[in-house]
């Protein structure tokens, strides 16, 4: 495909950078246009008049060294960055004719569209939270450089499957599946997107299955091994499927015919010939130059043709007057297969590890109507442990289904595989509690379908337990959700060794996001919490690199969940809120408990930004001002920015470095220890806290109006932070309170007084 021509055809209007409409397009153009960033050059901006989407054509400078290249990547690569809807991330498309298309980590696209680079291994909403233009371009440069050296797909990373994910799921049986064995398949529920489950047919169950509605005939094939690399577009008809496998050296039409013939021959399953067909193809995968390391298994549902009719098209069977038979021709003729539509489905390997035990219940203090957000590992276990103690949730919301790999840590059993997690947990809880008071809502917490009671259902509860393990959900709950209910957010640390509960106070003060900031502050200040946010070890990828499953034993989750249930369900929620953290030791030889009070935050609007300042910080700055007497003092500020919501959290301040200069009319912040402090803060909080600006005091008798020196300082901070898309911030303490002075990306100056 000529990608450049495709973009030229779609994006017909040339636009100057200052006339771009999309905010992310403007940010990206501004980054490159300043001349201060040398990772890419801006060639042109264009717009699609129909959709309003915009593209920036860049010349990306790839950081290639002199090492021999594995893939043909040039030191300069033309790339089109497409910016669509505001809630979507930009996409990057290589434009050079001859750009290698066999390398892994392209996003899949329909055959008539170009493919963009797969830049991230985490979900899009996590990327959006911290997206910056410079981070995006640097990610493109990184992708290109790592691809050039053949390192983009890590040595320890599982091989990419042959085909993209589909969204439909086929659950494999527990026993080893073998080509030639006879199977049927049926949907677990009536929902059209619910998983399909494979069933082994034998003489005992054949008669029963014959009566079942919605059954499929299943044929399982295995092809020769192929080298992993480009993820292929999914075939949507049988002819395309046959052709795709022929390209990789496998002729499936003959073995397919043989398998269908076997179905005819096995009398007890002949009824399957009248059922629609599911074709499952297993292809072993090898790494370049290596042996078989993995396999890719894909299923294709031929919904508009029965197994028997496919056999007719393949020339292996005939049907006369309702009777199946074999043709007399020695060489079967294969008829046109393009009319056989296929619906691809992802297969889910069976999971055969044992389930763990659940803790016993506790006496109830008070039944409080509670909503549980997230019925995943932690949420389900909270629900079921609490349920076994008689504590029920009024509402459980989740939009995920239970898959075999979830069994490692989920509260549900294998009989619920394929069920909606919310529905299944609800069913269990109602059974435990002896009534039907629990309601399941199967919907997306952040993007509700409009077909359920979510998020209006929040009005029915007094408490919300967020067990989604998602920062975007927690932030939505804190900042955007319409509710009066008090909320608690609970999650495990990335390694799974620690559990955390952030619990709002009465009237939602302190708020969840403020508790989150206080939590980070304690991670920095408390030596006993070192390593709390260290990364966990990934056990396996389920359906691609953005869906990793971390290696955490159920023993850990169970032990920590019990502690969480104690805090959330067994004890009253304190009016001042709180932060609770349980640290388990290696081998679970002990669990250390840490509790911190919630801290209030003061709010001030500064231009477009809402700034929340920890109240304790203001007191500490006031004390520093008093100690400094007639001299000015100051230091750095640490916090974070929520760029989507335009919220700044000012969390901590630091004392002036020893080489600072304190004068009656000025303060110069020194350097000793500053670098290490910021590095430590970032490391301990996994970059959730970082440098955000400077604080200083004006002497007694002076207000907080910024001086000319302060304006210069603000400009300096603005220059320092420009590539992180964060505004520059100064906090000034004086007789009239605390003034926040801010300079944003539009180089506008705002002030707010606390």
């Amino acid at each position: 495909m000529d990608v450049q021509a495709w973009f030229a055809e779609q994006f017909t209007e040339t636009v100057s950078p200052d006339k771009l409409n999309k905010p992310r397009a403007r940010q990206l153009a501004a980054l490159i246009a300043t001349g201060g960033y040398d990772g890419a050059e801006l060639l042109e901006c264009r717009r699609d008049l129909e959709s309003g989407n915009e593209i920036l054509l860049l010349r990306v400078l790839v950081p290639l060294g002199q090492r021999a290249l594995v893939n043909d990547i040039e030191p300069e690569e033309p790339v089109a960055v497409l910016i669509g809807r505001d809630n979507l991330l930009p996409h990057a498309y290589p434009l050079r004719p001859g750009f290698p298309d066999h390398v892994p980590h392209f996003n899949v696209a329909p055959p008539d569209r170009p493919r963009s680079l797969c830049l991230y291994e985490v979900a899009a909403e996590e990327v959006r939270r911290t997206y910056t233009a410079i981070g995006f371009v640097e990610r493109i440069r990184w992708w290109l450089a790592e691809t050039a050296y053949g390192r983009l797909h890590g040595e320890a990373q599982p091989l990419d499957p042959l085909f993209q994910q589909t969204g439909l799921a086929l659950i494999m049986p527990f026993s080893d599946i073998k080509p030639g064995m006879l199977y049927a398949a049926g949907r677990v529920s009536e929902r059209t997107d619910s998983p399909v489950r494979l069933i082994v047919i034998d003489h005992q169950n054949a008669a029963q299955l014959q009566e079942r509605q919605g059954l499929y005939a299943v044929v399982y094939l295995r092809t020769p091994p192929v080298e992993h690399g480009r993820i292929r577009d999914l075939p949507f008809d049988m002819a395309h499927l046959v052709r795709t496998y022929q390209e990789i050296g496998a002729d499936i039409s003959e073995v397919l015919g043989e398998a269908l013939l076997a179905t005819y021959i096995a009398a007890h399953v002949k009824f399957l010939l009248d059922q629609p067909l599911i074709l499952i193809i297993e292809t072993p995968l090898t790494r370049a130059g290596g042996g078989v390391e993995a396999k890719t298994v894909r299923a294709f549902i031929a919904h508009n043709v029965s197994a028997g009719n496919l056999a007719i098209k393949l020339g292996v069977l005939i049907k006369e007057q309702g009777i199946w038979g074999r043709p007399l021709l020695m060489q079967p003729e294969i008829q046109d297969l393009t009319s056989i539509d296929l619906i691809p489905a992802d297969t889910h390997e069976p999971f055969d590890r044992a389930r763990a035990q659940l803790a016993s219940g506790y006496p109830i203090i008070e039944a409080v109507p509670t909503a549980l957000l997230g019925a995943g590992a932690l949420g389900s276990q909270i629900a079921l442990i609490a349920g076994r103690g008689g504590y029920g949730c009024r509402i459980i919301i989740d939009n995920d289904y239970l898959f075999p790999h979830n069994l490692a840590r989920h509260g549900l059993g294998p009989e619920y595989i394929g069920w909606s997690k919310a529905v299944a947990v609800c069913r269990e809880l109602n059974g435990l509690l002896g009534d039907d008071t629990v309601e399941a809502i199967h919907d997306d917490i952040l993007s509700p379908s409009g077909e359920s009671r979510w998020p209006a259902a929040l009005g029915d509860v007094q408490r919300v337990i967020d067990a989604s393990a998602s920062v975007p959900v927690a932030r939505w709950l804190a900042c955007d959700a319409e509710r009066e209910a008090q909320a608690a957010s609970c999650f495990l640390s990335p390694s799974g060794r620690d559990a955390v509960v952030l619990l709002e106070g009465e009237a939602r003060s302190p708020r969840l996001d403020h508790l989150e900031m206080s939590y980070y502050r304690h991670l920095v200040g408390n030596a006993g919490l070192a390593g709390h946010l260290s990364a966990g070890e990934i056990a396996l990828y389920v359906g691609g690199c953005r869906n990793p499953s971390v290696r955490i034993p159920q023993t850990q989750v169970a032990a920590l969940t019990g502690s969480v249930v104690e805090a959330l369900c067994r004890r009253p929620w304190p009016s001042t809120g709180g932060i609770y953290l349980w640290r388990s030791s290696e081998g679970l030889t002990g669990i250390a408990y840490h509790a911190f009070e919630g801290e209030p935050f003061e709010q001030v609007q500064v231009g477009e930004w809402t700034v929340w300042v920890r109240r304790g910080l203001l007191h500490e700055v006031a004390e520093a001002r008093e100690r400094a007497g007639r001299l000015e003092t100051g230091g750095i500020l640490v916090g974070t920015c929520d760029r989507d919501r335009k919220i700044i959290y000012v969390v901590s301040h630091y004392d002036p470095p020893p080489d600072s200069t304190h004068e009656l009319t000025g303060f110069v912040r020194g350097t000793v220890g500053v670098y290490q402090t910021i590095v430590d803060v970032q490391a301990r909080t996994a970059d959730n806290l970082t440098y955000i600006g400077e604080w200083h005091t004006h002497p007694p008798g002076c207000g907080t109006r910024p001086s000319r020196d302060d304006e210069k300082l603000l400009w300096w901070i603005h220059e320092a932070l420009r590539w992180s898309d964060a505004p520059a911030l100064i906090l000034i303490a004086g007789d009239d309170g605390y003034r926040l002075v801010l300079r944003d990306s539009a180089e506008q100056h705002f002030e707010g007084l606390i």
Binding site: G35, Y37, Q66, Y149, Y675, V679, E694, H696, D709, L713
Partner: protein, 374 residues
């Protein structure tokens, strides 16, 4: 991360090498900024170097090398460094020199002034006292000078390194870097009645090893094509071709045509045979050439007619026949002429890669001294 930082100083050289153990080396020092001229885009070299040393929590350079004593390689050194020979030039704000590298001519040049004279005195002091110095040349060259100070060649031979030898003090195994001396070399120093500064400059190859991969950086001081040709001939004669291999080539004399050939040329300087070999066969395809110079002149402009470098014709040779055009890095034009910044090249498992200007972390950007608040 091992890195080289070439500072934007106009037609002047200063390169800082950061080793993997966070030690720093400095090759030349030239504080050229005019502090009363707000439009001067050259680096504030002492400030940048001090901020960097503060980050590294040290006040000492493991090595400071003065390739020769021209002003564009020494200006301001007398105020920046601490000199053991002169108590007046010591103090807590001055930065210390662990080992001083100089060419032999530094010891006996005459009519030196200012910073050059201070450096000479320091070099003499250290050699006489017998510590903290490496003199590039055969020790016999300075026999008379040593004798005048009651010293013998034998007594001080460990402080000399001749061309064609590794420079003492560094090994690939222990330090991840080694240095190989190319000049001053015997052909130029023998029978040389008149000292040619540029001819007796330090020329050396730095070889880094990271991730099992060697990366070579050639430092050519301000020597001309004749000296380079001698270096090539001698090196090849001794079978040390790989000692002129380069991933990064720090150009001689600010992109002057004299480093390529004797004739500037209409649009492109044509190389001598040896220079052609050095540039076109010893460099890496995706290597870098660093020109510590003002921006390249536009054809026909006043700067183009100026005899002083940089010379457009020389640059055209490098860009057309040696490396990709964007890999000729002119210090006063990176990332742009309007706002030049020091050029940082990182050395890693892929060789040498130019670091993006804006890729610095928040911590490193804001940790230097903040402007005054009031």
């Amino acid at each position: 991360m091992v890195s080289l930082t070439f500072f934007n100083l106009g037609n002047a050289d200063t390169c800082r090498i950061n080793l993997r153990d966070e030690q720093r080396l400095l090759i030349d020092y030239a504080d050229r900024l005019c502090r009363i001229d707000a439009s001067d885009k050259r680096s504030d070299l002492p400030k940048l170097l001090k901020d960097d040393l503060a980050l590294a929590k040290t006040d000492t350079y493991k090595v400071v090398a003065f390739t020769h004593l021209d002003d564009d390689h020494t200006q301001g050194a007398g105020e920046f460094f601490s000199f053991d020979h002169d108590k007046v030039r010591q103090g807590k704000d001055r930065k210390k020199i662990g080992t001083l590298w100089v060419p032999a001519c530094v010891l006996y040049e005459t009519n030196l002034k200012d910073d050059a004279q201070i450096i000479q005195k320091e070099a003499r002091h250290r050699l006489i006292q017998g510590y903290g110095i490496v003199v590039f040349s055969r020790p016999e060259r300075v026999r008379e000078w040593l004798a005048r100070h009651s010293l013998t060649v034998e007594a001080r031979k460990d402080f000399f390194v001749d061309a064609g030898k590794p420079v003492p003090g560094f090994t690939l195994g222990a330090d991840g870097v080694e240095f190989f001396a190319h000049s001053p070399h015997a052909t130029r120093t023998n029978d040389n009645k008149i000292i040619d500064r540029n001819g007796d400059s330090l020329v050396f190859q730095a070889r880094f090893q990271e991730g099992g991969v060697n990366t070579d950086v050639l430092f050519a001081a301000d020597v001309d094509h004749e000296v380079l040709a001698e270096i090539v001939d001698i090196t090849r004669y001794h079978g040390n071709d790989e000692r002129l291999h380069w991933n990064v080539y720090k150009l001689s004399h600010h992109c002057s045509y004299t480093a390529i050939g004797s004739v500037k040329g209409e649009d492109k300087t044509m190389p001598t045979e040896q220079i052609k070999w050095l540039c076109e066969t010893q460099g890496e395809k995706y290597g870098y050439i660093v020109s510590p110079s003002w921006p390249l002149p536009i054809k026909g402009s006043a700067e183009d007619r100026d005899v002083q470098p940089p010379h457009r014709e020389a640059a055209n040779y490098y860009k057309q026949d040696v490396i990709r055009p964007e890999r000729l890095l002119v210090t006063m034009a990176e990332p742009s002429e309007a706002n030049p910044k020091p050029v940082v090249i990182e050395i890693g498992r892929d060789g040498a890669t130019k670091k993006t200007i804006a890729a610095a972390t928040v911590a490193s950007v804001v940790s230097p001294t903040a402007p005054r608040a009031g």
